[in-house]
Amino acid sequence: MKSILIYLHVHQPFRLRHYTIFDAGLSHDYFNSDNDPNMSNRKILDKVAKKSYLPTNKRLLQLLKDYPEFKISLSISGLLLEQLEAWHPEVLKSFQELSNTGRVEIVAETYYHSLAFFYSRSEFETQVQMHRDIIKRLFNQEPTIFRNTELAYNNDLAAWAQDAGYKGVIAEGWDQYLDWRSPNYVYTPISAKNTKLLLKNYRLSDDIAFRFGDTSWSEWPLTADKFSHWLSEDKDATNFNLFMDYETFGEHQWEESGILEFLKALPKEWLKTPEHTFMTVSEAIKSIDAVGDIDSPNTVTWADTERDLSAWLGNSMQRQAIEALYRLERPLLDLNDWSLIDDWRKLQTSDHFYYMCVKWFEDGDIHAYFSPYDSPYDAYINFMNVYHDLKSRLVENGVSV
């Protein structure tokens, strides 16, 4: 059997409002910017719901009805679920309808889409548990597969996941550790022999996620027929891991590009051959044997040409901002004030640090596209002003910082 594993990551951060140093110490409404179309979380969600979530879920539900073999996996950040519950319950319902088919698996991650794994293990575990809780409450699922924020992966993460009882981990199929090997198989982390690894086939995934609408691409237009044919050419492969942002469908690639038609046609083309099927990530982990070990002492992510954390932590502004934030952990948690803790956690979302990336000239396009700020410096200034306010709230509570 050969399986396609479609895994989509769904997430929206709580973007900060424009917040100056003169707000610090006075107002604490960091995430409320309904008057600013670039920063308003609610308006952005309105737009993405209309362009991406609603039409894509409708299409996915139809495919699940039409093809019993069709299956997908999703990771949905807690922050997005929070926003959907507040502002777009009909979108939440459409995700629940997918889940109710029994063929849409939810993957575990941190509730706040944070990089806490690298800064505080206990904070990280709290956020993973919070995510499990909301997934149980809204979808009645108990995930067995883990994905870390930005697919940030190393040997330690695999060991942690094994200890926490996960059967598998999702990571980037990066050449650094695959070397000559193909991502179209299941692997085992060298540090956690009782779990397995599913590695993103970034060439095939990026054909859809990044190149699909690019009319100057030599393979444009990409059809489901052609794509299925490429996959069929790999005779020995067991699994094709198509991992990408959910927002590829309708937001990054506009509906006019034909992306939803491609999605619709893919099961039809792929299932024409009897030994072809679809699997969720846990099914693949359970039913496919691993072919080798993966050793990743360094952290690998799914972003940029470097595939490391440099898009989030590569410059000193980013590192200083995140380190300052995590230094507040102990005194802040000790106060046991939920509004403070929740604000602090929402500031941990990786997107805030991504906006501060100064790699304009190589990876600049994609950073600019996903940033609500005019420049990475503006992002840093805004974030730090909010940080100053958070600190002042600690001081007001008698903490010396």
């Binding site: 100056t20 140093i21 003169f22 410059n315 000193s316 502004m317 200083q320 100064v358 304009w360 005019d374 420049s375 410096y377 503006d378 840093y380 200034i381 730090m384 002003n385």
Partner: protein, 401 residues
Amino acid sequence: MKVLMLGWELPPHNSGGLGVACYQLCEALSKDEVDLEFILPYKAEHSIEFMKVSAASPTGVLEIIQSGIAYDSYKFIYSDGHEEWNDIYSQVRFYENAVANMSKNISFDIVHAHDWLTFRAALRVKQIKGCPVVLHVHSIESDRAGGNPGNPLVREIEEISMLAADVIVAVSHLTKQSIIREYGIPGDKIEVVHNSIDRNIFDPIDDHNAYRYLNQMKSQGYKIVTNIGRLTVQKGLVNFLHAARMVIDQVPKTIFLIVGSGEQYQELVTLSSDLGIGANVIFTGFQRGKNWRDSFSISDLFVMPSVSEPFGLTPLEAGFYGVPSVVSKQSGVTEILHNCLKVDFWDVVEIANKITAVIKSDVLRETLSQELDKELLSLSWSESARKIKTLYNRHLEGVTA
């Protein structure tokens, strides 16, 4: 190809960016094998080898004594012994007549004039020689008047000259739009050629900064925020001082260094004491040479809050001395410069917010200045010169055809 350049100033006898831009453009054009003769309104020693520099002395005038910067009145001493003071309009007429006379004995293909002071002369030359005329607009009257219409006599010269010109070069898209808006000149007659900067014109700084007092204050933890430019309404310094008041409330150890002279001098001095920040604002008057360089190098941050700045070279100069900038979005330089902080000139709170952020954060200052330095390496006048040479060729072909 030979070009007659008409300009009002060249370094070291310049009052600001106009002379620097003319000098560097001419140097780059001469490297591109364009033969140049530059006519100035005054006689002075220049150690310039790449072009001939002539003075347009009116008949019978032995010597012109400059009383101050290029826009002030000059004293003319005649051969018959009498002296007279001439204002800027008389000088423009003298220059025009002198250039007209000189042009009869020079052969050249094109006349290229920089800003309104030389535009009448350029049109007279066109009348006499029939050659194409290129008008290079470094600023127009409404820029210099800080968004007001400005002097009608100057507007008249600008409007009529630009209507009659064969081609207009604007130093930014912002300037091109101003020309279209103010004078209704068709956009297809206006080419945008951005100014640039060549590192070779900068003299290095030495170990002994001229501002001993500021050095002492820095060792006491003070930060220096600097503006260098004419003290005119165009430069937005009233907003700058209001922002300074807000910054000092946040960070009392801040000194604002204001380098330059101009008609707003008394107003600005009065305002700074009215705001209660007289002790933190230092006015140095016009500086050149070492004092000018040291004004940059002593600074932690440069601010150019101009109301309307056609280009604005000073943030690039500051960058050469390792100093990052806050620049108004109403400045042409922001069309080419990424690694700076951009603000609207009217947004006093945001100007204060960004200044505060930079002086409070070492990491922001360092990242800005490192990235700016990389960016400056990629700038040079040769690309701008190449564009202008292409324009010359196009219009010469038009003449011969």
